[in-house]
Amino acid sequence: MHIMEGFLPPLHAAAWGAASVPFLIMGSRRIKRILKEHPETRLLLGASAAFSFVLSALKLPSVTGSSSHPTGTGLGALLFGPSVMAVLGAIVLLFQALLLAHGGLSTLGANLFAMGVAGPYVAYGVHRLMTRLGSKGSIAIFSATALGCLATYVVTAIQLGLAFPDPVGGSAGSILTFLSIFALTQIPLAITEGVLTVMVMNFLLEYSRDELNDLKRFSKRSKREVTA
């Protein structure tokens, strides 16, 4: 899903950058508060970043005959809240843009919106919806993080479609073309990401109960503050 350096027209690049900034601010505020109130969760925050680091470095083969990578952003979104992943995603994307020439600085905003905002928020939303509907545990985690991973690539296809409308089919036609490249390839990889996230969650439920309870209390409290 990395749009290469210079491959989005300046206006589009700036607009997606501007769209990502509020989430970065919200995310860093939330991280600051979580670490202040529950400093013992900082290792788990590091582990969430590490998960995204590994997964976005692995270019896996897909049944479409091309390769792509998962994003690993769903785990942190479910644990710490989606806005936190804007910050962690920015770290991953900066590493790749500066050291690997994968993605880029000019396209950082767009890539961040896809990977650090859209994916995590979809994962978080699907998880909330499914638990509210009574689905429990692994199924909700799997569906949420797999769909979040897929959403990232759908957003990338939309970004490219808007920037490069097809001379005949317009933006819609173009979006479909880019979807055929990204979304189909990503379906099996999204499943893989969902399964891997469930595995990590299984471990955390057994060994990191205290941190999970802290984070649950934290998000309940901050939700109350918002509605109050």
Binding site: M4, E5, G6, F51, P61, L99, L100, A101, N202, F203
Partner: protein, 102 residues
């Protein structure tokens, strides 16, 4: 937890290996989707020129592989550290409880 995770790991391995052995994909190079999208951009708009260049690029494929491996190693290293730490702490707790009941 352990048995479920071993089974899930098996699913992940199978999902990853399947495309490599599918007869219909024989001869495929599994090129990156990012690269395909980039090629599609130039097909749609052949006049498009990237207006910004990477500040630094790995000199070749080998160095790029090195840096990708480094990224994965950093992540996996930290995850392994976290898992080991948590398991060690749990074991110590268990040992202490055991000791107290003795």
């Amino acid at each position: 937890m352990k048995r479920t995770n071993v089974m899930l790991l098996f699913v992940v391995v199978m999902m990853t290996l399947l495309p490599l052995v599918l007869p219909s994909l024989k001869g495929s190079e599994f090129a990156g989707a990012d690269g395909q999208a980039q090629a599609m951009i130039t097909t749609i708009d052949s006049n498009y020129q990237p207006w910004f260049e990477p500040l630094w690029e790995p000199p070749g494929g080998e160095t790029e592989t090195l840096l990708f491996a480094l990224q994965a190693a950093l992540g996996a290293g930290f995850l392994g550290y976290y898992i080991g730490l948590k398991r060690g702490a749990a074991q110590q707790d268990k040992g202490r409880k055991h000791h107290e009941t003795d």
